[in-house]
């Protein structure tokens, strides 16, 4: 069976946490439980005007890639609602090829 995953272009993740709340609402997760959590890395100065300052969504064991949604032909809710449009859903093999296209990407396969 084809494995599906999510490709994160974390160069543009603004840290808005819409993915976290979309997931909590879709899966009726109580406060404190997440299918995806955004981590903040920085800010700290690397050199001159070059600063480390990024956000990276991390997927937990609660993530089922929105199986019910994708069966109905919809996108996972985090991908649908991502404000910075940095999440892509698809077959891992296809997404893996896109890793070549630019740096600051992360491919995840939660299940």
């Amino acid at each position: 069976m084809t494995a599906f995953g999510i490709l994160v272009d974390y160069e543009w993740c603004s840290g808005c946490r819409a993915c976290e709340v979309a997931c909590q609402m879709e899966h009726k997760l109580p406060v404190g439980r997440y299918g995806v959590v955004v981590a903040q890395l920085g800010p700290w100065q690397i050199e001159g005007d070059h600063w480390q300052h990024s956000f990276v969504p991390n997927f937990t064991d609660e993530c089922d890639l929105c199986a019910a949604r994708t069966e109905a032909g919809k996108l996972p809710t985090c991908v649908h609602h991502c404000q910075a449009a940095v999440l892509a859903y698809g077959p891992v093999e296809e997404l893996a090829r896109k890793l070549d296209e630019k740096p600051r990407q992360l491919l995840v396969r939660p299940r």
Binding site: W12, S14, G15, C16, R17, A18, E20, V21, A22, Q24, M25, E26, V31, G32, G42, P43, W44, Q45, D49, W51, H53, S54, F55, T77, H80, H81, C82, Q83, A84, A85
Partner: protein, 749 residues
């Protein structure tokens, strides 16, 4: 439906459809709760009509399916167990106590009408003051209510009308139009529209769009454009995430915006890198502007703003060189005391570089309907407005050009009874004690002088608990119908009712029914739907037709000033006295204000009040926006409160260490006026001399009664450090530039 040249979006599904066990209804979002952007939403209701889920509408070009946390968690707000669900009254002597009596809507309307009409007969209609909060769907209806009652004293509940109004007023004064960044939002096909160009540069000034989503801007359009090649410059006291992605980051001292803009103008003019043709053809007063900014050399501006001179030069050059440049300015400009000259200087950046009504620059947005500043102005005689509106005698600009009364002068009037005594208040969708009002104890005492107060809101708030004699429950947007023409670039959207909570009524239903009792001729409609259809008549659509077909996009054209499409008389140019963009303002000159931009040291401040700076050695800026929270809303909504559970003061780790504080500590933030509690968060994003905090805090879980702390308001509200002090024009105030000291909260405090 008549064809008025609007562009519509193809809908795959009807307005309402079934999906599994649920009914889905398309619509637009408009506070309350949440912000006033108007994202396209799909609202899911179950068989009992309960709102169970909200998704972004991918067909809507505005947000293209995306949503922020606040709309995603909407069902938790709408269905919250602490919503107000029926009208209540309380005896005046019981204000501040949890001593409410449930009443029917008829009793509530009759009680209010009897009281207001008796006051009008005895003292004249100006004795009632009408207050609104931020841009909840309210301005057309509350202005019509106030004006049809006969009172010119409608106002917004913050000092200096310091939110959006100064930027709009400043733009209109200098150019006869309002200017917005062109992110292709005026086109249904958005970034694919062939007329549009990707902005070369976006100058983000005093806002953090990816967090705050303000003033018609969907914040992530900025990142959409950056992915397509736009560069950015960021002006902010804090190194935001966007600042770290900028070409130039100008980390200024709060409140020195005017000096920074004048420094950039100085560079552009000295180096001759402005658009000389545009200035020659379309601007007035350039030589005077050049002379005014000539003293603002980058080195001098560095000493004022703490921004290095070479960065000021680099920013000016990069902005001037860009093919299409946007000034993306925010509320920080309004919340500077001398906001008009600051805004004037910042506007001049895009004006002298010719980024006026060009693709990827600044655009004058088309309007479907212009009623956001008030509907029914003709209902009140002009001489009453001129003579009786509070603040007109103090601020000539308010008399000449502003719809609302001055809120600062309204506070003075409440206290002094001069020029006449105010008797009653109508506070709709506003929470001045927790959110917008400086000096909340003074605000409370001033409003408490009113004999009779009506509050309309979604939840019990500190304002309602402390002051309301009658409290009316309002609908959230999924509980009501409405028109959403939008701020920023207007487009026809409708708000569509999908659910019912208790006996709540929409703001416009409340205003319609109340208005009929005040002045039936001014409110001839049987239902709000009839009222919406009446308003929409110029669009060729009825309200149901708008619901089916929204969103509707207006015809749009660039360079309207060249085509005679801006001025009412159809001539080329701008709608000003001189027909040009006035860098030297004839209207400011006429009302006794400086016609050119100027900088005034923020007061208090390290330079203006050095003695105070010794006692209060940190510059404090307030109002940092937080994900999940909209002003004083959302504190009782579990998933949103969890994103930001406590009010925070951000400071450099070195600053924290100097005052014996660690990340996560509770600290008092204090000046000579008062103090508020904040959780310390250390960050390298701030200069060690500056700290930043969020606003509008109260704790709905804390005891409610005034004698028990009014929801912990007196520990939480940072506005206790702020005064009612507007700028010279009456616009602008000092929410963003304070001095403070910080120290650890002791056990038991």
């Amino acid at each position: 439906m008549e064809d008025r040249g609007y562009t519509f979006v193809e809908h795959e599904k009807p307005l309402r459809y079934e999906e599994g066990d649920l009914t889905v209804t398309r619509g637009s979002a408009w506070t309350g709760p949440g912000c006033h952007l108007g994202c396209g939403v799909l609202m899911y209701t179950d068989e009992d009509g309960r709102l169970v889920k909200v998704e972004g509408d991918r067909e809507n070009p505005f947000n293209q399916g995306r949503l922020c946390a606040r709309c995603l968690a909407l069902p938790e707000v709408v269905n919250h167990e602490n919503r107000l669900t029926h009208p209540m009254k309380r005896a005046r002597e019981m204000r501040g106590k949890d001593a409410w009596e449930r009443i029917s809507w008829d009793e509530a309307f009759d009680l209010i009408a009897d009281t207001f009409l008796a006051l009008r007969d005895q003292y004249g209609p100006e004795c009632v003051t009408f207050w609104q909060g931020t841009g909840r769907d309210i301005a057309p209806w509350i202005t019509r209510l106030a004006w049809s009652y006969g009172s010119p004293n409608y106002t917004v509940a913050l000092s200096g009308t310091a939110c959006y109004a100064p930027r709009i007023a400043g733009c209109r004064v200098s150019s006869g139009a309002f200017w917005l960044g062109d992110y292709s939002q005026q086109f249904a096909d958005r970034y694919d529209n062939p007329e549009w160009n990707v902005p070369g540069m976006i100058l983000i000034w005093g806002n953090n769009p990816v967090v705050s989503n303000s003033d018609g801007l969907y914040g992530h359009w900025v990142t959409d454009c950056m992915k397509r090649g736009s560069k950015i410059i960021v002006v902010d006291p804090k190194r935001t995430w966007l600042a770290s992605k900028s070409e130039v980051f100008l980390q200024l001292r709060p409140g020195t915006d005017a000096a920074l803009a004048m420094g950039m103008l100085n560079v552009m003019i000295e180096e001759g890198i402005y658009d000389k043709d545009f200035v020659d053809c379309w601007c007035y007063g350039f030589d005077e502007l050049a002379e005014r900014v000539s003293a603002f050399t980058p080195e001098k501006v560095e000493s004022i703003t703490w921004v290095p001179a070479d960065k000021i030069r680099a920013a000016a050059r990069a902005f001037a060189a860009a093919d299409g440049a946007i000034v993306q300015w925010g509320v920080a400009v309004d919340m500077t005391k001398e906001t008009l000259p600051a805004g004037q200087a910042i506007s001049a950046l895009f004006e002298i570089t010719g980024n006026v009504d060009v693709p990827g620059g600044m655009i004058a947005p088309p309007s479907i309907l212009y009623y956001a500043a008030g509907w029914g102005r003709e209902l009140i005689p002009e001489e009453i407005r001129q003579q009786k509106k509070i603040g007109n005698d103090v601020y000539p600009l308010f008399k000449a050009a502003m719809g609302p009364a001055s809120t600062d002068e309204t506070i003075n009037t409440l206290e002094t009874g001069k020029p006449y005594k105010l008797r009653a208040g109508w506070l709709q969708t506003t929470n001045p004690l927790a959110c917008t009002g400086p000096d909340p104890k003074r605000t409370l005492a001033a409003l408490d002088t009113l004999e009779f107060i009506v509050v309309v809101d979604l939840f019990m708030t500190p304002t309602a608990m402390a002051l309301a004699d009658v409290l009316l429950p309002a609908c959230t947007f999924p509980e009501r119908d409405g028109i959403r023409v939008g701020d920023g670039v207007q487009r026809g959207e409708s708000i569509n009712k999908v659910t019912t909570i208790g006996e709540c009524k929409s703001d416009m239903e409340i205003n319609l029914e109340m208005g009929k009792r005040f002045n039936a001729d001014a409110w001839p409609w049987d239902t709000v739907e009839d009222m919406f259809t009446f308003i929409l008549k110029d669009t060729g659509m009825t309200f149901p037709e708008l619901q089916e077909n929204a969103p509707a996009y207006l015809p749009f054209t660039y360079k309207k000033h060249e085509k005679g499409l801006i001025r009412a008389d159809g001539k080329p140019g701008f709608e000003t006295g001189t027909g040009r963009i006035e860098l030297w303002s004839t209207l400011y000159s006429m009302v006794g204000l400086d016609p050119l931009p100027y900088f005034e040291e923020p007061m208090p401040g390290p330079i203006s009040t050095p003695d105070a700076y010794e006692t209060y050695p940190l510059v404090l800026t307030t109002g940092a926006r937080q994900l999940g929270l909209f002003h004083s809303e959302h504190r009782q909504v579990p998933h949103l409160r969890a994103m930001h559970p406590d009010p925070v003061i951000e400071m450099n780790p070195a600053t924290a260490a100097r005052y014996g504080l660690e990340d996560g500590d509770w600290a008092w933030v204090e000046n000579e006026r008062g103090r508020a509690k904040r959780r310390v968060r250390t960050t390298n994003a701030l200069d060690p001399r500056v700290c930043s905090t969020d606003h509008a805090w109260w704790r709905p879980e804390a005891p409610a009664a005034l004698e028990d702390g009014l929801f912990d308001l007196w520990n939480m509200n940072i506005n206790q450090l702020i005064t009612w002090t507007p700028g010279k024009s009456g616009l602008g105030s000092n929410y963003k530039t304070l001095l403070c000291r910080v120290y650890k909260v002791r056990e038991g405090e």
